[in-house]
């Protein structure tokens, strides 16, 4: 009788604890889900204005091939003949396209001649995204001039880790959380230009603007 009573009491306590546990789990889930309803999910992104091009992005990503790659913002590019993002400082004078004169270790920057004007030749530099490893050599080089090359987390590759390993290694605190429906950033300088362009019914510019979270 006594032991039965004890079992009952213990069972009652366990039942109570269980109900409390389930209710609190439900409340927690509901609370977090409700709070979440106010905002969109987050993604990792690099604020290009903060990035210092240290090169950690290429090596610290958990993916074998980093999710971070270079983007060329043509609307900031000078189409320079002597491009400091393309050539090493030695290569600037020779302008030889041999490997030792080029900054990019994977030949991911493609240089094409556009036009000769007023005694100057202009070249367009595009990024071969498949070859780019996000090492930021070109970003650092280009920062000497216009800074049109910048790094971005590519969201077709990023697995959206809990704690981004690159964000931990980033020396300049450039990794930010952005909302998933606008998961990219532009340099502040480019934002105005891009808006102007989008205003002139440029579909590509409008698309890019739609993907960019402005930090204003």
């Amino acid at each position: 009788m006594n032991s039965e009573k004890q079992t009952d009491r213990r069972g009652f306590l366990a039942d109570g604890a269980r109900v409390a546990g389930v209710v609190s789990a439900g409340v927690l889930g509901g609370f977090l889900a409700g709070r979440r309803g106010q905002a969109d999910e987050n993604r990792w992104q690099i604020d290009p204005d903060k990035c210092v091009g240290c090169g950690n992005c290429a090596t610290h990503c958990v993916l074998d091939e980093s999710a971070v790659k270079c983007v060329q913002c043509f609307d900031m590019c000078g189409f320079c003949n002597r491009c400091t993002g393309y050539y090493t400082l030695d290569g600037l004078d020779s302008r030889d396209t041999a490997a030792e004169d080029l900054l990019c270790p994977t030949e991911a920057i493609i240089r094409t001649f556009v036009e000769g004007k007023a005694g100057q030749n202009f070249y367009e530099y595009t990024i071969d995204t498949d070859a780019c490893i996000g090492c930021a050599m070109c970003v650092k080089g280009c920062a000497l001039m216009n800074g049109s090359l910048y790094l971005q987390v590519m969201h077709d590759r990023c697995v959206n880790c809990n704690e981004c390993a690159i964000a931990v290694a980033c020396p300049s605190d450039a990794f930010v959380n952005v909302s998933a429906d606008k998961p990219y950033r532009l340099k502040r300088v480019a934002l105005g230009v891009m808006r102007q362009k989008a205003g002139k019914a440029d579909k590509a510019a409008q698309k890019l603007i739609d993907q960019v979270q402005a930090d204003e």
């Binding site: 043509f74 000078g78 704690e163 605190d173 105005g192 698309k207």
Partner: protein, 461 residues
Amino acid sequence: MNRIFRLRVAALLVVALVGGVLMGGVMADESSDLMFPVPEFSDHPIPTASVPEVQGEVAPLLDVAILFVALCLASYFTLVSRSRRNVLLLTIASLLWFGFWRQGCVCPVGATQNVALAIFDPTYVVPLTVVAFFVLPLVFTLFFGRTFCASVCPLGAMQELLAVRSIRVPRWLDHSLGLVAYIYLGAAVIFAATKTGFIICRYDPFIPFFRLGANTDMLLFGSSILLISVFVGRPYCRYLCPYGAILRVLSCFSKWRLSIPPDTCINCQLCEDVCPYGAIHPPTVTQSPERRRKGKRRLVTALMVAPVVVLGFWWLGTALAVPLSQWHPESRLAEQVRLEELGVAASTTEASDAFRGSGRSVEQLYQSALSRRNDFVTLGGLLGAWTGLVIGFKLIHLSVRRRRDDYQADRAGCVSCGRCYWYCPVEKVRLGLISDVSEALPDGQLPTGPLVQLTVGGKKS
């Protein structure tokens, strides 16, 4: 003529000025910051950069569905069909899917931190998948015991498959190391809540194997855990896993749980010998009145000591504010900058270079670091008090005696792996593998009673 010219110039100037003011707002940032203007080409429009879309959101939903199905299967296999083979197959499947295919992310263990951060920081948006991953195993544990640990968790699965030569960990060591998990949980929560870092993810010993790559430290740590798990069953689950710590508590209140024999226990001790996790308790012996008095005295002492332990550790925790706050990268940066300002630092770091380029003032940085340090006085105290509470509770728990008439799985420690099913003679009879329990016993003889009763003091000779 001259006047007209002058008027024209003035008009032009006015137009230019008005135009400049109008255009200025739009044009200013383009022209001012570029060293070389963007050229205009006759027949080559300036292209626009393009970036890829976010990949579809199907996989996370699929993950939750798979987790739910796996939890249902695990509970069914351990509690209803009592099939160790199926549990093992599910373990391997979970390891392949959650571990190697999904690369160990999302996992409920790490989700603890997201939930902690989401509670303390309203601006952080926690994905619903992560909440589901955190809550589902908790609810399942409240009903079916730790079936999640048994065969769904990829971290557990890895160790489960390696537990082949398990030695028995001495009780005192097992109990003391088991406390580390709770402390780790407390630390993980305060670090996540203060955005210092997600230490569970950063020091996950199995991620290097799931992702087939990591830095040397983590590879060494992971390999040693794997090596240890060959000889000590599930070292991570038992002594480190913060989520396992939560599940241990919840499992004590579970509605149903694994029972070793399907019928009456014959007290043969085979299950206790075979459990690699030391989670099966032998039946208790009746105590002499003197021992009982001693036990009561011990309980009273434990109850009295517990508050002192809590206070002591709280004080210790507050003293640890500085090293704890140094886990935050900004605090480390502040120290580096301070050293540089004093001229003590040998060289600058990438972080300090970046800081100097950012235009933030040194004072601001110091202020932020100092206020964080103050926060960590409170948080460190809380972590210390939590540690003391855990230790105190353990002492009390160890002093309370529970009567057992047969071999029973520990409510908290049992991970429901079902290994004991394979060895239980009663279970073999149920399955029809043998006709009588005596066939499964080493000597072919049924023990007359609990083996431990044959020796003095509950210790096996």
